[in-house]
């Protein structure tokens, strides 16, 4: 019996590993449950709370990064959720910051960890004013 070429075996192994997200997506914890389960998220406080410049910057960042999926009016577009929901309104700033850092990849929201933490807090500051 012919042996599988090493490169083909390696490629199959890689493909198998790449299926991990598809399998992992069977877990059904919401992002808020995951954020609340993270002890660091609960300890986070917004350093820009109440700052007008941070609110304006956060609105600019929202229009730049988030509005294409969540709508310019935060009402959500297509299957993407509204940010005016009770879940988002009641979430703590730390939980929202956690969500921006980690995203919700199994539900289609990318992670925004490449944004500096200062910009993520500016986004959180603006979102909390939308309550």
């Amino acid at each position: 019996m012919k042996r599988l070429p090493a490169w083909l075996a390696a490629a199959c192994a890689c493909l198998g590993l790449c299926l991990c997200p598809a399998l992992a997506s069977r877990k059904h914890l919401t992002w808020l449950e995951r954020a609340n389960a993270d002890p660091t998220a609960a300890r986070l406080t917004n350093p820009y709370a109440g700052q007008e410049d941070a609110v304006k910057a956060g609105e600019k960042l929202y229009q730049r990064y988030c509005s294409s999926c969540h709508g310019t009016d935060l009402a959500g577009v297509d299957r993407n959720p509204s940010l005016r929901s009770p879940t988002v309104r009641s979430a703590s700033p730390g939980a929202l910051f956690w969500l921006l850092r980690n995203g919700s990849l199994e539900r289609g929201m990318p992670a925004w960890s490449y944004l500096p933490p200062q910009q993520r807090w500016q986004l959180v500051t603006w979102l909390k004013t939308m309550e």
Partner: protein
């Protein structure tokens, strides 16, 4: 039907046009620098007047407009005017990690389409200068899966231009949460000819001498490769550090596995966003540096006979989701090119998948 199509068609033209203008602009600058295009159109000297013969008008005055536009100066003026007008539009998207060789763990947002051109220019010792263009079409399939198609071509001075082949790349993110180090698995199929000079990565014993052979010979060679990368990337307080370990195998020849690496560090020039829209804010600029090179083969692993580069990077996000990146890669040893000039123009189309499905 025309009414239904007109709005998305107009929108598509307005999105694509600035990207094309910028790409042509950068290509023209490179061609002028490398002597492939005259900066000023040379005027033919009028013939000597003989008995009874009138002088002929000098060339250039009555040329058709398209001929005058082969003059590098005219084209650059026109393109500069377009670019300046376009820059006045407000920025809609921030910059991401600016690497041109290294990969980070950020994937394309699901449903987004990105079109980019990656250019690399070099002048190998004892050879002809070249410009390779790699066109990339990237689509976010899932938030953990991005797929890309590359089309490659190159032009070499005194040797003409040639289409060199294509690549199909897929990147997968196996872990669905952010960690201190985030792995991404990369697998690529490459089908190019020997004239390919995209230098997308440096592996094995790749040296500058690989670009000395003439296109007339190398275009008939066929290379089919499988390439894998282990991408490890970290974001910390606005800084990104990414490490790639590369393994490549030519499958249509009896060649051993070849290995390479790429390491990049970058950050935005400002961590906080300004409270107003601006095109030249520091937050729209990213700076970084990357190091990449070969690590030999399965039979001869190591640094002997390999080439390595150190490349500072600057990236700028222009209006309407377009990013410009520039990076000179300085060769670090005698096997390397002196300098590889890389620049990229990328344009992102948000929620392209939804637009295709007719939801817009």
């Amino acid at each position: 039907m025309l009414d239904t199509l007109s709005a998305p068609l107009i929108k598509a033209v307005l999105w694509i046009a600035p990207f094309l203008v910028t790409s042509v602009y950068i290509t023209d600058i490179t061609r002028i620098t490398m002597g492939h295009m005259p900066f000023r159109r040379a005027r033919l000297s009028p013939p000597r007047l003989g008995a009874g013969k009138a002088s002929e008008p000098s060339a250039g005055a009555d040329d058709p407009l398209f001929m005058q536009l082969t003059n590098g100066f005219s084209r650059l003026c026109m393109l500069t005017a377009c670019l300046l007008a376009w820059m006045c539009l407000p920025v809609l998207r921030g910059a991401e990690a600016p690497y041109l060789v290294t990969y980070g763990h950020r994937l394309e947002e699901p449903g987004n389409l990105e079109i980019a051109t990656h250019q690399v220019a070099g002048s190998p010792k004892g050879g002809n200068s070249f410009l390779n263009t790699l066109m990339e079409i990237e689509y976010g399939v899932k938030s953990w899966w991005t797929t890309e198609l590359y089309l490659s071509g190159q032009g070499t001075r005194h040797e003409g231009a040639v289409f060199t082949g294509y690549r199909i790349e897929n990147r997968f993110r196996p872990l669905l949460r952010e960690h201190w180090i985030n792995p991404v698995l990369y697998i690529e199929w490459v089908d190019v000819n020997g004239a390919d000079k995209s230098l997308r990565e440096v592996v094995g014993h790749d040296t500058f001498e690989d670009q000395l052979e003439p296109n007339s010979e190398t275009r008939h060679e066929r290379k089919r490769e499988v390439e894998g990368k282990l991408i490890l990337s970290s974001n910390f307080k606005g800084w990104n550090v990414s490490e790639n370990f590369i393994a490549e195998k030519i499958v249509n020849h009896a060649e051993p596995w070849e290995f390479g690496y790429a390491i990049g560090v970058s950050r935005p020039l400002a961590m906080k966003a300004k409270p107003y829209r601006c095109n030249f804010c520091a937050e729209n600029f990213h700076a970084g540096v990357e190091v990449y090179g070969g690590l030999g083969t399965r039979h001869e692993f190591g640094l002997r006979g390999t080439s390595h580069y150190l490349a500072p990077i600057i990236a700028w996000t222009l209006p309407n989701n377009t990013t410009l990146e520039f990076s000179p890669g300085f060769g670090l040893n005698q096997n390397s090119h002196g300098v590889l000039w890389r620049f990229t123009v990328a344009r992102e189309f948000n929620q392209f998948g939804r637009w295709l499905r007719g939801m817009r």
